[in-house]
Symmetry: C2
Subunit: 423 residues, 2 copies
């Protein structure tokens, strides 16, 4: 089966740029996992005629139309009316739907405002779809040649409904096997050239790569559940071509993977941060249960703190500067000494926008990771503004921890070793 | 002048949900500041006919059409061809444009790939627009009744071009006065009810509110530069109705405002973090120059670190628990003592998803802010998952610092004081 889908997001706040429309992407991803291609996406305001026209136009090009937003209780919310006009059916009140909404309010000991009654309306031949997280039911209309689904706009209501809606309207297009591999520390073109033959468009299952927030991803999608083994085999090829940069799959993040590797070895890591200001500790503790491998650390933003909390010799700071190999190495020694953690990690750099010099331009960052066997010190020159430099420092530090745990060595993107500055 | 605009984002990766389309919002905001309303936004794939149809359809409803994406050098990039088809003009090579592209590569000592020559193409009666950050020039076509602008998709290329393009095509619609006020610590409905009369739709300049990431914003837009004084007067009314929660305007963030208030008083603050894991220090150091008011702090994720680094008495941890008023107060005393900072701020809570109890459910967080005059200790119960609880803790801590500096007292959203648990 090949279905084409068209998606519509409804909301004045989206058109005005006051809110960001993320539903187009959410739904396109869910459809893509089932092999359904989105052929158009449109944003329209809270306006009956505009919604009606958008649905009519979508029905001309797709067999499945998904509309989000405009199902609230107020008079501004007119997506129901837009659908009724597009398919030329009257709106009727659904008694079961009304009872469900009344129960929703009763369960919260609140009276149902009169306007919420509108949420039980549906075109005559449509059915309502249950919404466990709000009062707006979805609406499903199946015509002879096409299906239209209306879904609520709030993400915490839409998200939980999406899977069951997909199962319902795409029963003959179950989710297809999919693997996304995640890598850090190699550039996009390097990543692509390592898997060039796997990316050729005329292959059975071509691999597609994207880069976002310094993470390179490779996506492999099967055409049906029969492709499971092929998808896994291609994923293994990518993993091997991207070793040792490839750190995980699907929802894996570097903090999760580093936590897993530490926990598997019953090791702990402590942080000594300067330019990241606590961002590395915050990343490590994103992971539930991180107290198992992370006792804590020090934010030594001022040099006095590096001396007082980590025992960095003041003369080293004076002679080498805070952004230097010797200082991050001393920070690692200090944080390991005072916390007793198995590993220590330290960051010190020029995040900008000010503070750069010829020898240490903005973006220069030293990162050190050490354990009882030694210290890995690396200098980076990260491109981008202050936020990007700091985020990239956190990711590089996590990847350095991971590589050290695995006993792998690999040069990371933006490492800067050509001159002899203290390294 | 009232112009209506239509926007189009081009890219297969947007339709497939692999990338998030943010240009619709960026451009709608820029247009809104000039009083231009966006009447439709469409996402189409990298397909000549689809782009042509989208431009034709947009021209039927709007006098200004802005298209982003699909101006790259590869054969997939066909937005130029789509425009040429929609306005029925041949594409011609622009000699100046070609020279600019050649200079771009020469300046980087790289040979120009042959495919980049395509980027100098434009419809016969169109002109190219300079792109200082990439090889893809924009394209501007002015017909008798409408204008179409093509702009490059990469945000770091689009962003810098947008202002000058707006100045060019909307010379008679200069940016209008606008103020956005930012508040933290009061709920959206509370915020709205405090300015109810200002929000009435039939007012001259109605105020619109939005909430994002726990920050409530009020937007006031003038109709022309004559409204400057009126906009300022309304902004002052909102500010006063939202006092003391209103912390700034426009691009102000809590870390910036707290930094400004500390710097103005020549005071410093140090952090003692448990559940935020470094996120509070990372927020404070988002601000360039924050070393002026932030020496650093401690991430005491494990209780042993609270004892060792901050001198929290072990018996206090045993009797009260780490998530308690006494412990955050002791953390503040510890961090002020060891760093000598004027203010200390401490966080300790149950970020979840595990670790909750009946007395301290997930989302329970104690925050303390202290100086030589005393300590402000507050208990919160933040809704949401782990990330939200931690982000909300950081914002509440920053607002508590600000209120203490200003000598203001106000209960913050999600404060939880009904029971006597240690408070």
């Amino acid at each position: 089966m090949t279905v084409a889908a068209a998606t519509i997001s409804v909301g004045d706040e989206l058109l005005a740029g006051e809110s960001l429309d993320t539903h187009g992407r959410t739904i396109a991803e869910a459809l893509g996992d089932r092999g359904v291609r989105v052929v158009s996406h449109v944003v329209v305001g809270d306006d009956v005629v505009g919604i009606e026209q958008a649905i009519r136009s979508a029905l001309r090009r797709a067999g499945l139309v998904l509309v989000t937003g405009g199902l609230g209780p107020t008079l501004d919310d007119v997506t129901r009316e837009g659908l009724a006009a597009a398919i030329e059916q009257p709106l009727v009140e659904d008694p079961d739907g009304l009872a469900t909404i009344e129960r929703w309010f009763a369960g919260r000991s609140r009276p149902m405002p009169a306007t919420n009654r509108r949420q039980a309306l549906r075109p005559r031949d449509a059915v309502l779809l249950e919404n466990a997280n709000g009062t707006a039911p979805g609406v499903l209309w199946k015509g002879s040649e096409a299906t239209v689904v209306l879904l609520p706009g709030p993400p915490r209501e839409l998200g939980p409904m999406l899977d069951s809606v997909m199962d319902g309207v795409l029963a003959d297009a179950p989710p297809r096997p999919r693997v996304v591999l995640r890598a850090h520390g190699l550039g996009e073109s390097d990543a692509a050239s390592r898997i060039e033959s796997l990316m050729e468009r005329n292959r059975e299952l071509p691999v597609a790569t994207t880069v976002s927030n310094s993470i390179v991803s490779a996506r492999i999608r099967g055409r049906s559940s029969d492709d499971r083994a092929l998808v896994d085999a291609i994923a293994a090829e990518v993993e091997s071509a991207w070793a040792p940069y490839c750190f995980g799959r699907d929802a894996d993040s570097l903090p999760h993977v580093v936590g897993r590797e530490l926990a598997a070895r019953s090791l702990t890591v402590a942080t000594a941060e300067s330019c990241t200001g606590g961002g590395l500790g915050a990343a490590i503790t994103e992971v539930p249960g991180s107290s198992e491998w992370y006792p804590g650390g020090f934010v030594t933003y001022a040099n006095e703190r590096k001396v007082a909390d980590l025992g960095v010799p003041p003369e080293l700071l004076a002679s080498e500067g805070a952004v230097s190999a010797s200082v991050v190495e001393a920070m690692v020694a200090g944080v390991r000494g005072s916390t007793g953690a198995d590993l220590g990690v330290a960051t010190s750099g020029v995040a900008g926008p000010g503070g750069g010099t010829d020898a240490r331009p903005v973006g220069t960052v030293w990162i050190a990771v050490g354990d009882r066997d030694g210290v890995d010190r690396r200098r980076f020159r990260f491109p981008g503004g202050r936020d990007l430099v700091r985020n990239r420092t956190v990711l590089a530090a996590l990847q350095m921890i991971r590589l050290r745990l695995l006993g792998e060595s690999a040069t990371l993107l933006w490492e800067w070793s050509e001159s002899g500055d203290g390294s």
